[in-house]
């Protein structure tokens, strides 16, 4: 087979020739070719360099030894688990065709041409440089940023200036371009602007930009100045004074970012807590069942989401994002049905015996865990819909992740849903009547058995929704209920006041915000961190419960009647 016949069109260009040189055994030829390739500013090369650096670019020589540069990222296996390497065209990323079919040779036929260690950093910086010309927003942004990170790319400065002055360009990218350029000057990476004045001037510009990236480098810069013999004492103290002025300026911005970040993270964590406790607020709060299988009902919701994902065929390579919306009602229904069955078989016999209900539901939980483990094994993954990745920058440096925003919305929606059902519908009225005074409701013709059953199913369904929401930020394992949820949800419900929806919301958000304010605290050299944060929080809650045994809001409903 002759290479010239099988080569796909994109390779027959000047770029294609340069790429072929990469297979050369002469290091200088390879090095020159990398430089030449970077100069072409061909946006297709960014991806190529990434693959090349990683070692996914191979030479697949013909029988007569003609170089064919191909890409193989992942191998495939046939039914007998033999491994093959489907090849891609290095530039277009399309399948590499031989006689109109994608070539899939045995991997051992491919010759590894990955760059040597010495060349790898050159390839890497060429890659970042090429990113400046990408048409993809995130790629361009990361290129603009990386040019200003160590090890710096002074060659990018003219392009960065161009981008910074381009009014049609996105604001964030223009900002980062300015920042990266000044950062290079600050770090003394730019030959023409190496003097202390130039560097201090760059720093003052970065101060105006309130650049957090510059803040992270202030100490290094200060240390560098101190070790410069040519600076007089007076110059040094002047320089130090201006540095501390700028430090103060950025520090203010940083404090604002941190505080608002912590508040958002607290609200976000709180909304997750509200969501996971909401179902329990019904089954335990309203009905008085100490439902230890609550976490497992959430797990059912999470696994349902996984099943729906499989059903829709959603994979990261081939996203079917609407699967995630479809999974919401399905997770609710499946968990509700499981709850219904549980109620019918176990819980209904134990309504007036809370301790037995604790043990029985614990047992049901263990059973559910083991069943799921046998069916699914342990390692399964729910792939988030692609829109849930990344975040929204609401103001400079404050990023709200989409996944968190979605959960916040889901939480509000679920609370609204429960409120609507309990307060605004006939069914809700019957629930309240039954839970407040069962005998009276029954004598007035309410079918209390049916109400019990449906209420338990409602609580279980909401737990399923929580499990569904969880998949977007967390992992899915059979024992996720026991390890992650059961303690937290009881904590929220008990602190909030058993039987009161408002209590759950207040305590969930309160615990969330408090945790996120305690966790980052620094006392001297000691950082509180998650371990001590949890200890302090639990101590606070214990103290609070001592002071208000019935939680934030006094209980109403069946539990209260018992007292």
């Amino acid at each position: 087979m002759d290479a010239s016949q099988v080569a796909t069109p994109s390779i027959n260009t000047e770029v294609g020739q340069l790429i072929k040189n990469l297979a050369s055994s002469d290091v200088d030829i390879v090095k020159d070719s990398i430089g030449e390739l970077a100069k072409t500013a061909d946006p297709r090369l960014e991806k190529f360099f990434e693959l090349y650096r990683q070692g996914s670019v191979y030479n697949w020589p013909t029988d007569s030894g003609v170089v064919r540069i191909v890409v193989n990222e992942e191998t495939i296996m046939d039914d007998d688990f033999n491994e093959f390497a489907p090849l891609l065209d290095p530039l277009s990323g399309e399948p590499y065709l031989v006689a109109d079919v994608q070539a899939k040779p045995d991997l051992l036929e491919l010759e590894d041409i990955s760059p040597s260690r010495k060349l790898r950093s050159l390839v890497n910086s060429s890659k970042f440089l090429l990113r400046l010309f990408s048409t993809d927003y995130t790629v361009r942004l990361s290129g603009v940023k990386k040019c200003g990170d160590p090890s710096f790319l002074p060659a990018a400065i003219p392009y960065l200036e161009e981008i910074a002055n381009d009014e049609t360009e996105d604001e964030k990218i223009r900002f980062t371009a300015k920042e990266s350029k000044e950062l290079m000057v600050l770090s003394g990476a730019v030959e023409a602007k190496k003097s202390t004045e130039d560097r201090l001037f760059a720093l003052s510009k970065l101060g105006d930009l309130k650049s957090l990236r510059a803040y992270a480098r202030l100490d290094t810069f200060e240390g560098e100045l101190e070790s410069m013999p040519e600076l007089s004492t007076q110059e040094l103290s002047e320089a130090k004074a201006s540095i501390s002025l700028i430090r103060k300026k950025i520090q203010d911005h940083k404090d604002t970012v941190e505080l608002s970040g912590n508040l958002f993270r607290g609200v976000s964590y709180g909304s997750v807590l509200v969501l996971i406790a909401l179902g329990l607020a019904i089954t335990f709060g309203l009905m008085g069942v100490i439902n230890m299988a609550h976490g497992e009902l959430m797990m059912i919701g999470a696994y349902t989401t996984y099943e729906v994902q499989m059903l829709f065929g959603h994979t990261p390579d081939n996203p079917v994002n609407h699967y995630y919306l479809a999974a919401l009602p399905i997770a609710f229904l499946v968990a509700a049905v499981v709850g219904l069955i549980m109620e019918g078989l176990v819980v209904r016999h134990l309504y007036n015996r809370p301790l037995e209900s604790l043990l029985a539901t614990w047992g049901v939980g263990l059973l559910l865990i083991q069943v799921v483990r046998i069916i699914y094994g342990d390692n399964i993954g729910v792939n988030s819909p692609t829109w849930a990745r990344g975040g929204f920058e609401i103001s400079q440096d404050i990023v709200l992740p989409y996944a968190r925003l979605y959960l916040l919305g889901l939480s509000v929606l679920s609370v609204g849903f429960i409120y609507f059902i309990i307060r605004k519908t006939r069914f809700g009225m019957l629930i309240r009547a039954t839970m407040q005074n069962r005998d009276m409701a029954s004598s007035l013709g309410v079918r209390t058995r049916k109400i019990d059953r449906l209420t338990f199913a409602l609580g279980s369904g909401i737990a399923g929704v929580a499990g569904y929401g969880w998949t977007i930020i967390g992992g899915v394992t059979p024992d996720m209920g026991q390890t992650n949820f059961i303690v937290d949800s009881f904590l929220v419900v008990v602190t909030g006041g058993v039987g009161e929806l408002l209590g759950v919301i207040c305590s969930g958000l309160g615990i969330g915000v408090l945790t996120k304010l305690i966790e980052p605290l620094e006392i001297g050299t000691f950082t509180v961190g998650p371990v001590w944060g949890k200890v302090i929080l639990l101590a606070l809650i214990v103290g609070f419960i001592q002071y208000r045994p019935s939680g934030l809001f006094a209980p109403k409903g069946r539990l209260a009647d018992k007292k």
Partner: protein, 409 residues
């Protein structure tokens, strides 16, 4: 699974030698340990098909210590005293190994331990077939500092003995390399920690200078929320690469991989090692999982502990055949210095310190949940049972256990 558990109660066959398998099949550690049980059973099946060991069929006695540490000691006792096993393959967490170690030393029995750990131990009753710290931690930190040009290191781990000791070694190494203290951060989270918002935002601040990386010893189910939060806050491997010591192909099965592309892991084996032997090992493991009807089936992958558990059985077989006996003391002597072919290539056992000489690999996560090997050591790296970074004067503690119970041979 029932059939395998049933083996514990099956009648001994004629001319059969018993071996013990001590891995959790329920509880929190089942997620990792079940795979090791599977691969040991596969090795036993292969050995039996090839005529057994010294002409005797191998009979595996599988017990379930249920992720309950004291139960490991109890089950080990049962295997040694009641089942009279010749050797035991088992344990994952260090605490489970520490729990049953006194039993193995008291009875002078033999344990093959297949998981990378923090070192600081050398019992003559254990053969450690996975990495000691200098075969995983130090080369990885070196790679980050020299190849990736990182100057700041965020040591992030789950709060238990492996991460704490590992970070001690890492800190000592970084200090020796001249990394100033303020460029090294250390933080721990409880087991099953799920909310990484605060930590990731701290990492973001730490990495703003563009030359930082994370050395992660986060274990188990915390990895999923950690990596998800990392990606959701807009960080990528370009901004701050994560070098993980407890994330293998098996863990990646449970993760949303595309946002993780480019992050790294250090191991002594990857499924993507390109050799004929490895290809056939991967093939047989997948086939075995399909035929045995195990969850995951053909989607199952091999990883470092799976390889280490697998070749452990063959090391024992080779040693038995070398000395012609099942006697623990003779087998122990035969293991020392033994050279053997593992799926990932040639390896050998250390002549004195109970550990294994292995190559070190560093891999970058690919879209398909496999690793692209970007670094491999020149040849095999000799294991240190005690880290020279923690014992700078070289006065290592003496080994423990053995035939005389005092660490002497």
């Amino acid at each position: 699974m029932a059939a395998m558990l049933g083996l514990a109660f099956s009648f001994p066959q004629l001319h059969a030698v018993k071996i013990g398998v001590l891995h959790s099949l329920s509880g929190t550690m089942a997620i990792s340990e079940t795979s090791l049980r599977d691969v040991v059973m596969m090795a036993v099946k292969e050995i039996n098909a090839g005529g057994g060991v010294l002409g005797e069929q191998v009979e595996a006695v599988v017990v379930d210590p249920a992720s309950d540490w004291p139960l490991f000691a109890e089950k080990a006792k049962q295997l040694i005293n009641e089942e009279k096993v010749a050797v035991t393959f088992g344990c994952w967490t260090s605490v489970s190994r520490k729990s049953c170690l006194p039993v193995f030393e008291e009875e002078n029995a033999l344990l093959f331990y297949p998981v990378q750990y923090e070192g600081e131990e050398q019992s003559l009753n254990v053969f450690y077939t996975a990495a000691s710290p200098n075969q995983q931690l130090v080369p990885a930190a070196e790679y980050m500092a020299k190849e990736m040009g990182c100057k700041k290191f965020y040591l992030l781990g789950t709060d238990y003995v492996f991460p704490r000791t590992a970070n001690k070694v890492l800190k000592a190494y970084l200090k020796a390399q001249g990394v100033p203290d303020e460029n090294v951060m250390e933080e721990y989270t409880p087991f099953h920690h799920q909310d990484y918002q605060t930590i990731v935002s701290k990492v973001k601040e730490f990495a703003a200078s563009g030359d930082a990386c994370i050395l992660s010893t986060i274990n188990g189910d915390s990895n999923v929320p950690f990596y998800k939060e990392f990606a959701n806050q807009g960080l990528t491997s370009d901004d701050c690469p994560i070098m993980a010591f407890s994330v293998s192909e098996d863990e990646l099965r449970a993760m949303d991989v595309p946002p993780l592309v480019g992050h790294l892991a250090a191991w002594n084996y990857f499924q993507s090692i390109k050799t004929k032997e490895n290809a056939s090992f991967v093939k047989s493991f997948k086939k075995y999982c399909v035929e045995a009807g195990l969850p995951g089936g053909a989607k199952r992958v091999t990883c470092d502990p799976i390889e280490a558990a697998y070749f452990g059985v063959y090391v024992w077989k080779a040693a038995v055949e070398k000395c012609g006996s099942f006697d623990v003391d003779k087998v122990r002597k035969a293991v020392y210095g033994l050279e053997f072919d593992a799926p990932g290539g040639k390896k050998s056992m250390h002549p004195t310190n109970q550990h294994t000489l292995k190559p070190v690999y560093i891999g970058e996560i690919l879209k398909n949940g496999q690793f692209k090997i970007v670094y491999s050591s020149d040849g095999l790296v000799s294991p240190d049972s005690y880290s020279s970074y923690l014992w700078p004067d070289g006065n290592f503690p003496k080994p423990t256990g053995g035939p005389n119970g005092d660490g002497s041979l």
